[in-house]
Assembly symmetry: C2
Homo-oligomer: 124 residues x 2
Amino acid sequence: MYSINEVAAICDVTAHTLRFYDKEGLLPFVGRNEAGNRVFTERDLGLVKFICCLKNTGMPIKEIRKYIELAIEGEHTADTRRDMITGHRKEVLRQIDELKKSLTILDLKVAFYDSYKVGFQGEH
Amino acid sequence: MYSINEVAAICDVTAHTLRFYDKEGLLPFVGRNEAGNRVFTERDLGLVKFICCLKNTGMPIKEIRKYIELAIEGEHTADTRRDMITGHRKEVLRQIDELKKSLTILDLKVAFYDSYKVGFQGEH
DNA sequence: AAATTACTTAGAGTGGTCTCTAACGGTGTC
DNA sequence: GACACCGTTAGAGACCACTCTAAGTAATTT
């Protein structure tokens, strides 16, 4: 069992952010103790980690909520969820590809600065 | 010579965005024609493309402005600019690395959904 | 001459993701 | 009992990067 601050530390977010996610419907699975405080099980922690993975790869909160809602709904939504993840996987591949292209441009720029240093004159 | 809309089309942004960038100090090098309209040279286009490259890889507008200001300042800022780009290059490498890690997690999830389909029962 | 098109400006509004504040409640230790 | 500490809520505010509006100018087409 984990407190909100423990989960926050593990997932590298603030407790504020987790409460914000809860308010946005991303954490409907989280239970409470007698005092009304959020209590995260090991399984909850795993889901939060996955939510952070989706967030870190640019999935909007709305779509993450949709995914969570489907997960809560039950087994019969598994196909839809699989499709969401494979679709998002493609998007992540696209992001990686774009970043790699940009990296090439940055490398060229650095190469220019280096060539400039040794006397080559060109445009910047 | 290019109009704002031509540059917008080439760089896959809107003219609105280019004017916004201008207002933010990202395009101080762009000239005007007799009518007061922005006119982009081939060299300007190259710089806008590079600005978009920086933006697409997550460099904040403030930092891009700093880079542009240095470039305008002259040759003696070349070292600083080189450092900015190599620093940003590292950041892009970090982004790619993180995306690849996230991709692995997504792959595992897809694999789970597939194993689930053929009868394996586990956590979701 | 009127309409259309392309551009201009200042400035307001939007959307997303936090981020923080204020006021409060319950638990543990001295 | 007092205080620290961890948690709660509603809601305001911040920040970024646009995105759009309103009102206007200038050139071109019909």
